[in-house]
Amino acid sequence: MDMLDILLSASFWAAAIRIASPLIFATLGELICERAGVLNLGIEGIMVAGAFAGWMAVYSGTGLWTGVMVAMVVGMAFGLIHSVLTVPFGLSQHVVGLGVTLLATSSTYYAYRLALPEVTSPPKITAFQPFEIPILSDIPLIGPALFAQTPMTYLAFVLVGLVSIVLYRTPLGLALRAAGENPSAVEAQGLSVTGIRMGAVIVGSGFMAMGGAFLTMSAFDSFFFEMVNGRGWICIALVVFGAWKPGKALLGAVLFAAFDALQIRVQQTPLGADIPYQIFLMTPYVLSILALIVMSRRAEVPGALMVPFNKGER
């Protein structure tokens, strides 16, 4: 198949949007945390926990959307742990983040083994099915790519808009951005930097967990160890690539996913058969690093990112 044929096929773009969806949730979550001044390296583990929690809830009989809520609440719980340690106590965001990733991952695996001690292959659930939006899904190319996705994908796009509006059009968003740029100014306004930052980390972690839940409830219908596979770290790169802006981050996630979908298709061409498959599997990680290098000169890092705020200290 010719490269152009791939790029012009609706199924290719549908796959790209599907691959982008979990990244959009988690990138948004990380963006909210970082915009408030907190780097959340718990993302990888929180995605694992969200993937398991949502799937397990549905497997034990709840509805799909309840499962998404359960995942979100579990993510927020880990966000609470992260934020208590990094915000009021101002501990190293690197160490706490990696600790939270380890805690979330290992408690998930522990819970999995306790819940399903006997199974060799994990049970399946009835996952979200694609929902074709009437009329819109009939548009050639764009229709099947954008408007015949699962409901969680639509939710991801809605959240991008919602987060943009909150960040740029509301007093809450202004306070959140200020907490990440100039916390003393926020405090001077009589607002609590601690409260804003903790809230951002908790909500952001909820989004990350929904990204994980997408994997088990929308992309696949089962939970596997290692299924998050570094997606969390890629999302951290996507936040930088998106210059800490929701719209650009969305664009970055889709672009990234398009490359990922492309490498899967090139692998199946005669040319791709001659190249070791590991080269293709490396591309997402290599692309992330390249994106970081390209953006490094232009990126506008939030001024107080990773700087703990202790009241009374100047």
Partner: protein, 349 residues
């Protein structure tokens, strides 16, 4: 709430928080063991017994601690200069890679020449693997946390590619594994009949050397200065970028020795499951040791003990081994908090 430094912390101030942190970790582990339907006291007892209860168990713990000492030192060196090397896993595999490339017959030397060459070659490879993210950091300002993390994935795929291609053992029954090292490339045991290889000795020596570098050399002083305050270090004329690069080379080299020691001392060949996350666990080891190279040895023994003990406990009573990882994550998070509380008091507004 607000944090206020304590001028003269009392003895209780400096000892109680870490103690409470450890006790809380034990309580959390007990509750989780109960959740799994086991008697918490027997679970904790079995972990202790499995880790240190017999000569066999203790040697197993020392063997497991060996790679953790190397990766712990690697992280301690880097974090001290605030170079966030999360890529010890990749550097470990780089060291293991050089060991099998040179140690499977390419250099037909005696052990006396071959083993030091392999160790140095491994260190060089690990240093180069961390050099790339370090250069990206100093040249372009690219955050090394993300690049070193992503490098772990890239490098493991690279190893997988080699093990299914040029490095594949033709006698390996189709498994992706390298050929075995020649006898001269194997690390000997530290004493006759003792199941402990010289990698452990090398780890102890490395810890002592790193301590000397950090406390008794200009480079060590500069590393600490760069870690404390980068701008102040630059102001007093310390070449910050140069120090960061040197730190990266040392840190990468130390992590690579873990790979050398595991291949030459334990496994004898390279497979994709050489390291069950020794690189990541090194971060816990280094943090529990407060980045002190000598304390890294003790922390590595503690962490290795929990892993070995949890394995044997799990075999006995069926509580999942992931309990060990939860205990370590809890200990890590509570310990960094406890250390803070030995120096600061919480003041209510």
């Amino acid at each position: 709430m607000r944090l206020e430094p304590i001028a003269n912390p009392s003895l209780a101030r400096t000892t109680l928080p870490p103690l409470i942190a450890i006790m809380t970790t034990v309580v959390v582990a007990s509750l989780l063991a109960m959740l799994a339907g086991a008697n918490p006291f027997s679970v904790l007892g079995l972990i202790l017994k499995g880790a240190f209860g017999s000569k066999f168990a203790a040697l197993e713990t020392l063997n497991r601690a060996t790679p953790l000492i190397f990766t712990g030192l690697s992280v301690a060196v880097a974090f001290r200069a605030r170079l966030w090397n999360i890529g010890a896993e990749a550097q470990l595999y780089a060291g293991a890679l050089i060991t099998v490339v040179l140690g499977t017959g390419a250099l037909p030397w005696g052990a006396g020449a071959l083993l030091p060459t392999l160790a140095l070659g491994a260190m060089l490879a690990g240093a180069l693997v961390l050099l790339v993210p370090a250069l990206l950091k100093v040249r372009f300002g690219v955050d090394e946390v993300v690049t070193t993390l992503l490098f772990n994935f890239i490098f493991l795929l690279f190893i997988s590619m080699l093990l299914e291609g040029p490095l594949k053992d033709p006698m390996g029954m189709g498994w992706p594994k390298s050929e075995r090292l020649i006898a001269e490339a194997r690390l000997p045991r530290m004493a006759e009949g003792l199941r402990l290889h010289w990698g452990f000795g090398l780890a102890i020596i490395s810890a002592a050397l790193v301590w000397v570098i950090q406390r008794r050399t200009t480079l060590g002083y500069e590393m600490r200065a760069v870690g404390l305050n980068r701008d102040a270090a630059r102001f007093v004329g310390i070449p910050v970028n140069g120090v960061l690069i040197k730190t990266a080379l040392l840190s990468g080299g130390l992590a690579a020795l873990a790979g050398f020691s595991e291949v030459a001392g334990v496994k004898g060949s390279l497979t994709l499951d050489l390291s069950p996350g020794f690189g990541y666990t090194g971060i816990i080891v280094a943090m529990l040791a407060l980045l002190n190279p000598l304390a890294v040895v003790a922390a590595a023994l503690f962490v290795a003990g929990i892993f070995v003990g949890a394995d044997s406990m799990s075999r006995a009573v069926g509580v999942p081994t992931y309990l060990a990882d939860i205990m370590l994550a809890t200990a890590l998070l509570l310990m960094v908090l406890a250390i803070l509380l030995t120096r600061f008091r919480v003041v209510r507004e």
